[in-house]
């Protein structure tokens, strides 16, 4: 509820602020997209190391995935602010579809990876962070 309130407040604020702030929000989305890419690459490289060492994903992987997820959530919130303020080319179905998939992918994949007690869990994580990076990249591109 709290986050919904903040979201609505942000939308109203952005509407009131006009074009200058839209440019800011767009820049934010761009920066966040690169942040997600960076975090995904670091997490993926960590998973490669764990895979080569024949170990399961460790706490570094958990932190990497968590940081990536937080960045994804922020990126999606920013994208939705752009969408709700009418500063996006995306249709409603597209906006919601991409946003929900981007937010849900990593947690679901992480649970799926944790269920695998071998080195292969690392590859599941790599697939997940690649997928989420691709999704956020698409969001930035489509918006």
């Amino acid at each position: 509820m709290w986050s919904a309130g903040v979201g609505v407040g942000t939308v109203r604020w952005a509407r009131g602020c006009g074009g200058v702030y839209t440019a800011w929000v767009e820049l934010m989305l761009q920066i966040l997209t690169y942040a997600v890419f960076g975090s995904a690459v670091v997490t993926g490289l960590g998973a490669v190391v764990d895979f080569v060492r024949n170990s399961r994903p460790d706490w570094v992987a958990l932190i990497g995935a968590a940081v990536t997820e937080v960045l994804v959530v922020i990126a999606v919130v920013v994208a939705m602010v752009l969408f709700f303020t009418g500063q996006s080319n995306a249709t409603a179905v597209m906006a919601w579809g991409y946003s929900l998939c981007a937010v849900a992918l990593l947690p679901v994949a992480f649970v799926w990876a944790v269920g695998e007690p071998t080195r292969w869990a690392n590859l599941v994580l790599i697939v997940a962070v690649s997928g989420v990076a691709g999704l956020v990249g698409r969001i930035q591109e489509l918006w």
């Binding site: 179905v93 597209m94 579809g97 998939c101 992918l105 994949a109 799926w112 990876a113 269920g115 695998e116 007690p117 071998t118 292969w120 869990a121 590859l123 599941v124 697939v127 997940a128 997928g131």
Partner: protein, 165 residues
Amino acid sequence: MTVKKIWQSSGTQSSRAQSNPAQFSGAQQSGSAGHRRGTASGPGRVLVAVYGIFAVSASARAGYQIAGDFQSAPVPYLMSAFAAALYVVATIALARTGPVMRAVAWGAVLVELVGVVVVGALSVTWPDLFPVASVWSHFGAGYGYVPLVLPLLGMLWLWYDGKHR
């Protein structure tokens, strides 16, 4: 000694279970012998993850296309929906265990391979048939050829897992 080595050195599953039941059950519980727990473990875990992502993205895309402007290109849109359904079936079948699910998974990956090869070839030789891009157009080039590689990996994994069951 790793579980894999124990497994390799002790012959068949039944003889090992009889000769060293404690070790066998321990291996089962720790679950470190990947392929022993069905198609959704070990490398199969990764395969299911990739199939799952394709199932969701292909379904979303097909649903969006069909709900949007089905009339403009019914053939590729219906084929997208068919491909999406196959990915969903393959994901579920690979994620579960048992002979029925194994057979379903085999069926899904085989049809998928035929689909991507036939549609890929048709989209190259007869582009008018597919005016809009689909998952299988140009052998899945739009998706980094993953749609072409995925059924091959699926078959390889089903064969390997079946052999070592």
